[in-house]
Symmetry: C3
Subunit: 489 residues, 3 copies
């Protein structure tokens, strides 16, 4: 028993080897080849992107109008979402002084793999034609695939700087899989509405990342403390991420809502909620610091809380002032989270959350789910009209008799499902990642691009001209190797 | 009398206190709560974003086509404008070596507050339903709100680095208010056309900022001179702002023009004018320097002059070569402004204009207003067609009998109104900002993020290894605290 | 004969003079004025952007629907392409440690000039009305003009850091001219399909730049070797370029394809191909380095190979797994190119290719042309439907009887034409650029912004506080002038 424990300790605690020269290419190649085979077996164009089917569709609907192709309803929003996934999330994670390559680069890798796997997983659950055995994809599938990656990218936020790219690919494989399952349960079985993904994306992704990070707790992480911070220009880079997320969030929440009023209203609500979050974030950030100075961490993150929290309710008739209130409250909660909850979680729960996804995604996402439940339960025929109620909540088919009150209950239940999936799934994945085969860095080696990237030499600093005076010779030697010696003649 | 003057001098000249820990949160909270209340009382969805109204509209117009919703005409342009406001203006102002946080961060704050207030102010003037007392908002309202903020952001350009965030919120409150009034006078009373806002946005915003800056003249600003400049990478950051403004300006000028040919033509004209500005800016910049070297200040700013100057005329039939000529002339004027006028204004008029908004917004905006007047006056039935003339100039209702000559006169008058509003409004706001309660920095403390931001420690430079030789010991101490001492043993 | 040779050697080899104070403004002004005159003579709005014509068109087609204006089909894609040209290409070339101004700034200049000349050249070849002698332009013309610039911008990638802005304007003048001719031959005479420009843009631009660079071989370029590399933050800037190219490539390949299914399918195919390129690039990059570290050069470039290679086939029914395979193969080939071919070309062929356009544009573009040929030849009525086949390959008019097999042959021929134009045209332009009148830098002066830009003083480093101890005085003098002296008292 003792020796078994010892062996296990040795197994899990042995000297870290961060060489991923075999594992990373192997995983990339095997998975990419698997994608090619599975795409070959399953994935085809849908009726709006297949030339034969679209010509037949137009003929059968007696129209010549290409503008009714879903492409024109959704492609601009798709591109905005795409920017959020790659530039938004990517640059938001460049804030660390020596992990900008890893922030934006691994984000790129995760998303590029995740979206392929998402097209398959979401296809199997949502658009598999049981007759032909094929999945049909169109522009809405691309948006959903991007959304699906977002869950794993959020999780990456908690793990930033502490894991290897191979681990991240594992996080993504399981993350996308879990996402597709919980999404199927929440949207199809519980028949919830969640266009902007407060529940399925943010609450799930947030708790998934937190659970993984909790399992992977590093007791000696303070050995890397000196690299866990920003420098001036890395904070400016991170603002690129923040702003593209902030600006395009109205597209995120409206990308897959109903044509017409649905997309229009979701964009307006999100726009308004986000504006309100900015002001309260500035207020709380300033209040919390001596001299009222603002903290870039808050500005980069908590300003986005309103967008997360409107993910479910944006398509509902929450009213413009309702949107303002949501942004107001979640902005405050999120900033307080950065001030008090993240340090508390680390101290008390041994939970290390690099980007503070607890405050930006987990909690606002959860709140967004419940806000959606309340707004749904409060819907009336007076406000929505009878047809509007049916169209907004999809009260059709099996769900034709559902009341708004019931819908509210299911929305709340859906939020709980997403959290449960995140926590349980994350714990399991975290345990898998503890196996010492994934090339993760040692505790004193975290937040450092040197581990997985060829990093260029330091920026040339000004060669200090050491003048010779009197009895002493100062020789400037080899400034490119970053040292200078001082000699006395 | 004397003691009164003394007291006043003391009042206005006392030691600067830049602590905004109470004032900034207080202003943010009070104003945000006011917004919530006012939105609650006044703001509702319009008929294209309200689910009940849109269903009724479609039924009454006997259509099922959601693509006719204004969302699909304007949302892509809206997102481009949104990027210009937050990333374009924001990053354009990151060029200072130690004020990048303030440039992009306060821009964010101003715009997020301004757009809420703009929705109200513009709503009261333009879309208040007198029966219900409600304002209806849709995607066009969002674009207009972004436009309205632009005026205050332009003003910020003149004040960059010299004011506190509280002052900026005051600038924005009054800026948006003045904007809504002058816009109502120019567009509704004078019935001018100004889709891209040469007059209402650029000329107004430019002169508003200049007037404020003139009142706030700082005689000892040269104490901060060493920070009033760029470093290599801050100039590259600023190019992000420049390029996003440049690329999306066609969307800016076409965002709220007439559906169909109007948006199409405005985009083409702006695209062409901007291209021409780039070449002449490069030419003048190169001519002005020894060895023909280019100056980043010119490339970052004067290349945009063509877009500003096309703000009014872009929707008219100015012809492609007309657009080229506009870009050509205003590009030259703007670059000359940076070379000669800004230094002259500072020296002779005691006007400190950090970003040179005089050359990028005030003068090209004014010129754009007059160009619009000329192009309007030169319109003919031959070129526009009878229906075209009516649709482009809105010669309907009370204005059905107006001639193009009269229209040209009113366009010119509108330009003067916008300048007058900017100058008078700016002078008043400037005086308000002189009260020593706003937390602005002292003259030797300008252009410095340290005042309002928690700035990370300096970028780790390479620890200089001081070798020990012969009789001397060089100890390297505490490089993270940015100093090293040299001791002799 | 000998003295003639000597004279020639002297002529071509004389001391480099990089002063462009006369030549650069002269070229800019002359060309811009020429543009104004030529636009005045030739260019008019097309029927969708001219107010009179659009009103007549709507009346004659008995419609009131503005949404059918081509603007709404293509403007969002146009803006994405515009971002790729200015931010994508521009920031991709900021990776050098001291040539970021030149990378993004000259890219801006080239594109702003090139698009004007392209509107004329493409107009003469494609949309000249022989009755009126006028060219009609609309949003599709703007997209094509941006595409046309891309060829010259790609060529700039090979020349980065080694040429003067005047030379670049010459490269662009000829590049756009050659582009318009080869495009006319390939698209009109050979009747090829090439919506995303694998052939006409990438293969042409790539070989054009390589041929120029080969002629301009600099034997002593290693004198500038220390500046031919990146620093940490310049690599992060370059990722902005990479990501905007990567994200918007679906818009690039779909911008001018057929309305409806054509745009829809092209976007999907490109999205999928690009995802696959990322994984294989990471795999090969990791395999190639000790410890499996990733190389930023590969991530910044080879990840885009799938987009280049899908330029021709994206609008065909290549199927989603076909797209994955294309991205897979070209990603591998491109990364291998960076590892082995670029060094080989420099060593064996005396070909200096700063950005490695051989691996990102020339080879993937050529492959894309042949992939398009194969996919075209494999098209069947079964897959496309009869109408679909006609619409995708434009088998109408003179080409109504062409078979898909013949089409495939012509596609392959078109690829060869584009390469031939690039190589021959590039060689000629290269020879023109060898004349010693263009102000290019000397071999030891390459990759340096100091030559053509006013570069700000170095970033303030931490002022080293040299403490006084015992017998020695260390005086800190004028740190802003970047030196410190050490004196002994």
């Amino acid at each position: 028993m003792g020796s078994c424990c010892d062996a296990m300790c040795n197994f899990f605690g042995r000297q870290k080897n961060t060489n991923v020269r075999i594992s990373l290419p192997a995983v990339c190649f095997v998975w990419q080849i698997a994608m090619i085979i599975l795409f070959g077996v399953f994935i085809r164009y849908d009726k709006e992107s297949d030339v034969r089917l679209w010509h037949e569709y137009k003929k059968s609907h007696n129209t010549t109008s290409d503008i009714e192709n879903d492409f024109y309803f959704r492609y601009p929003s798709f591109q905005d979402v795409h920017v959020m996934i790659f530039v938004g999330f990517g640059f938001l994670m460049t804030f660390l002084k020596r992990y900008s390559f890893g922030g934006v680069g691994f984000n790129f890798l995760i998303a590029a793999f995740g979206l392929q796997w998402a097209l398959l997983m979401q296809g199997w659950f949502h658009s598999l034609d049981l007759d032909t055995g094929k999945i049909s994809i169109g522009v809405e599938s691309l948006i959903n695939a991007d959304f699906c990656c977002a869950g794993s990218l959020i999780a990456y936020g908690a793990l930033l700087g502490k894991v290897s790219p191979v681990q991240l690919l594992v996080v993504t494989l399981f993350g996308v899989t879990l996402f597709a399952v919980e999404e199927f349960i929440i949207l199809d079985l519980l028949h919830c509405r969640d266009a902007g993904g407060s529940m399925v994306i943010h609450a799930f992704g947030g708790y998934y990342g937190l659970a993984i990070s909790w399992v992977l707790y590093r007791p000696n992480l303070n050995l890397s403390k000196m690299r866990n911070g920003s420098v001036y220009h890395s904070d400016v880079f991170a603002m690129i991420g923040t702003l593209f997320l902030w600006m395009f969030w109205p597209s995120f929440n409206s990308a897959i809502t109903d044509h017409g009023d649905g997309q229009h209203r979701a964009a307006i609500n999100t726009y308004i909620a986000l504006a309100s979050s900015v002001l309260v974030t500035v207020a709380i950030s300033s209040m919390s610091q001596k001299h009222g100075k603002l903290d870039m961490v808050h500005i980069q993150n908590a300003t986005l809380a309103g967008g997360v929290a409107m993910g479910t309710a944006a398509e509902f008739m929450i009213t413009p002032y309702g949107a303002l209130i949501v942004g107001f409250c979640t902005g405050i909660i999120s900033t307080f989270g950065y001030l008090f909850v993240t340090p508390f979680l680390e101290r008390a729960l041994k939970l290390q959350d690099t980007c503070g996804i607890h405050n930006l995604h987990a909690v606002p996402g959860m709140l967004g789910g419940f806000i959606g439940a309340i707004v749904a339960a409060a819907a009336t025929v007076d406000v929505y009209g009878r047809e509007g109620l049916i169209s907004v909540f999809d009260f059709e088919g099996d769900f034709a008799d559902r009341t708004v009150g019931t819908q509210g209950g299911f929305q709340a239940a859906g939020t709980c499902v997403s959290i449960a999936f995140g926590l349980v799934g994350g714990a399991i994945v975290g345990f898998i990642l503890k196996f010492p085969i994934w090339g993760d860095p040692a505790d004193d080696n975290c937040y450092d691009d040197e581990v997985y990237w060829e990093v260029p030499e330091e920026e040339e600093t000004i060669p200090p001209v050491l003048e010779y005076n009197n009895h002493m010779t100062y020789k400037h030697q080899d400034i490119t190797e970053s040292n200078f010696s001082v000699e006395q003649s």
